[in-house]
C-alpha cells in the first residue's frame, strides 16, 4: 500500500515533465507512420471507403452513365422489389451461395481427409487436385460453357453415346442453376481442400492413436476429434467462400448471361445488367446496396477474427 502510494506520487511528479516530450515523440511517430502509410491510406479512403459510400448514395438517385442524377428516395428499391427479375436474383443468389458453400464444405472435408492419408504420389495428386484453383475464373467459366454446350459439348455427346437424351444444361433455367452450381463447386473446392488440409495437419497424431486404442471407430474419431479441432477453420473458410461465391459474377455471366429470361440472374449480374447494359447506374447501385448489410456483417466477423490472429488490434 505504502509503496503503491509512493509510486503514484512519483508518477505525478515526473508526469508533468515527461508528458510534453512523450507527446511530441508520439506525434512525430504518428506523422512519420502516415508518411509510410500514404499509398495504403489513399487506396483505403479514395478507392474503397469513398466508392462504398458513394455507391450507397447513388442507389438513392436516378443517375445514368452520361447523366448526373438527383435524389429519388427509395424509388429504386421499391421498383426493384416489384420486379420479378430482382426477386428471382435474390432467390438465385441465396440458393447458389448456400448450395455451393454447403457442397464445397462437405466435399472439401472428404477430400482433405483423403489427401492427408498415406498413399504413393500423394504430393502429385494434391498438386493436380488443386489445379482448378490456378485456372483464371473466366477461363474456367468458358471451359465449362464448352463442356455444357448443348449441340457439340462433350457431356451431351457422352450421354448420347450411352443412348440417352441430350440435356438442356444451360437453356433450361431450372437445370441451368444446377449447372452453374457444379462449375462453381469445381472452381472453389481447391480452396476448401487447402484450408482443411492445413488445419488437419495441425491436429496431433497422438490423439488419434489414443482414440484408436480406446476403440473409437473412424467415424467417431472424425466426429469427436477432427471436426471440433478444425471447427474454427471451417468457420473462416465458409465465411470467406460465402463472400466469393455470392459474388461469382464470372460463372453466371459466361454460362448463361443471366438468361433465359433473367431466370438465372444473381445480384451482381443483375446489377451489371442495369448499370452497364441499360445505363441505369442508380438502379444497379441499388441492387448492390440491397445486399450490402449481409456482406458488411460477414466482413465484420471475419475482420475481428483475422486481426486477432495477427495480434494487431
Amino acid at each position: 500500500m505504502a509503496s503503491q502510494a509512493l509510486r503514484v506520487g512519483a508518477g505525478a511528479i515526473s508526469r508533468g515533465q515527461v508528458r510534453g516530450g512523450a507527446n511530441r515523440e508520439r506525434l512525430r511517430t504518428t506523422l512519420e507512420a502516415y508518411v509510410f502509410l500514404l499509398p495504403v491510406v489513399i487506396v483505403l479512403l479514395g478507392l474503397a471507403a469513398y466508392p462504398l459510400a458513394d455507391g450507397i448514395w447513388e442507389s438513392f438517385t436516378n443517375r445514368q452513365v452520361a447523366q448526373a442524377g438527383h435524389f429519388v428516395g427509395f424509388a429504386n428499391f421499391t421498383m426493384l422489389f416489384h420486379t420479378a427479375a430482382y426477386r428471382g436474383a435474390v432467390v438465385n443468389s441465396v440458393l447458389l451461395t448456400v448450395g455451393a458453400v454447403a457442397t464445397k464444405t462437405v466435399l472439401g472435408l472428404g477430400c482433405a481427409v483423403l489427401l492427408t492419408q498415406d498413399f504413393p504420389l500423394r504430393g502429385l495428386v494434391r498438386a493436380l487436385a488443386f489445379l482448378p484453383w490456378a485456372v483464371p475464373g473466366l477461363v474456367a467459366a468458358l471451359g465449362w460453357r464448352w463442356l455444357f454446350d448443348e449441340q457439340a459439348g462433350v457431356f451431351n455427346a457422352v450421354i448420347m453415346m450411352l443412348g440417352g437424351q441430350p440435356v438442356s444444361w444451360l437453356s433450361d433455367s431450372s437445370i441451368a442453376m444446377v449447372s452453374i452450381g457444379i462449375a462453381t463447386v469445381w472452381q472453389g473446392l481447391p480452396f476448401y481442400m487447402l484450408m482443411f488440409i492445413a488445419a488437419l495437419t495441425t491436429v496431433p497424431a497422438e490423439i488419434y492413436e489414443a482414440a484408436a486404442i480406446d476403440g473409437a471407430s473412424a467415424w467417431e474419431r472424425f466426429r469427436h476429434i477432427t471436426l471440433p479441432s478444425i471447427a474454427d477453420v471451417i468457420g473462416v473458410t465458409v465465411m470467406l467462400s460465402s463472400i466469393w461465391t455470392f459474388n461469382n459474377f464470372n460463372m453466371v455471366y459466361m454460362l448463361t448471361g443471366g438468361g433465359p429470361d433473367d431466370r438465372t440472374q444473381i445480384l451482381p449480374t443483375l446489377a451489371y445488367e442495369y448499370a452497364m447494359q441499360r445505363n441505369l447506374l442508380g438502379m444497379g447501385a441499388a441492387v448492390i446496396t440491397s445486399a450490402l448489410p449481409i456482406f458488411l456483417g460477414i466482413i465484420f466477423l471475419l475482420t475481428r477474427r483475422m486481426l486477432r490472429e495477427k495480434g494487431v488490434r
Binding site: 508520439r26 511517430t29 507512420a33 509510410f36 502509410l37 499509398p39 495504403v40 491510406v41 487506396v43 483505403l44 479514395g46 478507392l47 474503397a48 466508392p51 462504398l52 458513394d54 447513388e58 443517375r63 483423403l114 493436380l128 487436385a129 488443386f130 489445379l131 482448378p132 484453383w133 490456378a134 485456372v135 483464371p136 475464373g137 473466366l138 477461363v139 468458358l142 471451359g143 465449362w144 464448352w146 463442356l147 454446350d149 453415346m161 492445413a198 477453420v233 473462416v236 473458410t237 470467406l240 459474388n247 464470372n250 455471366y253 445480384l267 451489371y272 448499370a275 452497364m276 447506374l281 448492390i288 456482406f295 466482413i299 475482420t303 486481426l307 490472429e309 495480434g311 494487431v312 488490434r313
Partner: protein
C-alpha cells in the same frame, strides 16, 4: 492377421477409387480445354467426339495470334498485372512496416480498414469505381484499370506483408536504430532483405489476381487497344456464336503464365494462402 490384411486391402482400394474420382473431376475441364485447342475445326464438332486429337494442329493458335486482337490483349494484361504488382508491393511494404513496427494514433483503425478493404468483393465497388474513374478521365485506359486493381491488391499485399514482417525479430531493427539508422533505412537494409521470400510470394499473388480479374476489366476497358486477356476473351464470344477452337486456344494462352507460376511456386503460394487465415 488375415482380417487385418483384408481390411488394409479394402482401405487401399477405397483410397485408389476416391483419388481416381477426385483427379477425373479436377482435371477433365482443363484437359478438355487443352485438347480442343489442338483440334481441327471438323474434329472439334465431330460426333462421337475424339478424346485425343487425331491430327494435332496449331491452326487455332495461329488464328488467335494472327487474326484477332489477342496479342494486344496479352500485352495489356502483362502491363496491367505488372504495374499493379509493383505499386501494390511497394505501397504494401511501406504500410506493413508502419503497422508492425510503429506505435501511432489510429494504428488499429488502419489495420481494420486494410482487412475490410481486402475482403470487399469487386461487385460491391464496380459501379461507384466506374464513376470515380470517369471523373479522373481514366476510364478505358490501362492506368485506370491498374487504379481499380489497387483496391484489392494493395490491401491484400499489405495484409500478407504484415504477417511476414511480424515474424522478423524486432531486436534487429532496434539495433540498427541505436546505430543511428533512420526508419526508412531500417526498412530497406534490415527488413527488406529478410522479407524478400515473403515479398516474392505476395508479388506472385498480386500478379495472378490482376491477370485473372474479369469484372473490372469488362466494365472499365472496352476497346480493342485497351482490353486485357479476360475482357478480350469475353469480347471474342460477342453474339451467340462461340468459335470454340479459337476460344480454347486463347484460354490456354491465358492459363499458361498462371500455370507456370503455380507449378514453380506452388508450395509457397499454398503456405501464403492458408497462413492469412489459419495461423
Amino acid at each position: 492377421m488375415v482380417t487385418g490384411r483384408r481390411s488394409r486391402m479394402r482401405r487401399n482400394i477405397g483410397i485408389s477409387v476416391a483419388v481416381a474420382v477426385l483427379l477425373i473431376w479436377s482435371l477433365v475441364p482443363v484437359y478438355w480445354i487443352f485438347i480442343t485447342s489442338f483440334k481441327h475445326e471438323q474434329e472439334i464438332y465431330a460426333f462421337p467426339p475424339t478424346f485425343f486429337p487425331l491430327a494435332p494442329t496449331l491452326d487455332q493458335y495461329v488464328a488467335v495470334l494472327f487474326h484477332t486482337g489477342f496479342p494486344v490483349f496479352i500485352r495489356n494484361s502483362f502491363v496491367v498485372a505488372a504495374g499493379t504488382t509493383l505499386i501494390a508491393a511497394a505501397g504494401g511494404l511501406l504500410g506493413a512496416f508502419a503497422i508492425t513496427r510503429m506505435r501511432f494514433v489510429g494504428r488499429a483503425t488502419v489495420a481494420r480498414l486494410i482487412v475490410v478493404a481486402y475482403l470487399l468483393p469487386p461487385s460491391l465497388l464496380f459501379i461507384p469505381l466506374f464513376i470515380v474513374l470517369q471523373r479522373l478521365s481514366l476510364i478505358n485506359s490501362l492506368p485506370g484499370l491498374i487504379v481499380a486493381y489497387l483496391t484489392f491488391s494493395m490491401p491484400f499485399s499489405t495484409w500478407m506483408l504484415i504477417g511476414h514482417i511480424r515474424t522478423i525479430p524486432s531486436e534487429l531493427d532496434e539495433a540498427a536504430r541505436i546505430d543511428g539508422a533512420s526508419r526508412l533505412q531500417v526498412l530497406l537494409r534490415v527488413i527488406l532483405p529478410l522479407t524478400l521470400p515473403g515479398l516474392s510470394v505476395v508479388c506472385l499473388f498480386a500478379f495472378t489476381n490482376a491477370w485473372n480479374e474479369f469484372l473490372y476489366a469488362l466494365v472499365y476497358v472496352y476497346s480493342s487497344s485497351t482490353r486485357t486477356i479476360t475482357a478480350g476473351l469475353a469480347s471474342l464470344t460477342m453474339g451467340d456464336t462461340f468459335i470454340w477452337g479459337q476460344l480454347m486456344a486463347a484460354s490456354v494462352l491465358a492459363i499458361v503464365p498462371v500455370l507456370v507460376i503455380y507449378l514453380v511456386a506452388q508450395r509457397w503460394l499454398i503456405a501464403g494462402l492458408t497462413s492469412g487465415s489459419i495461423k
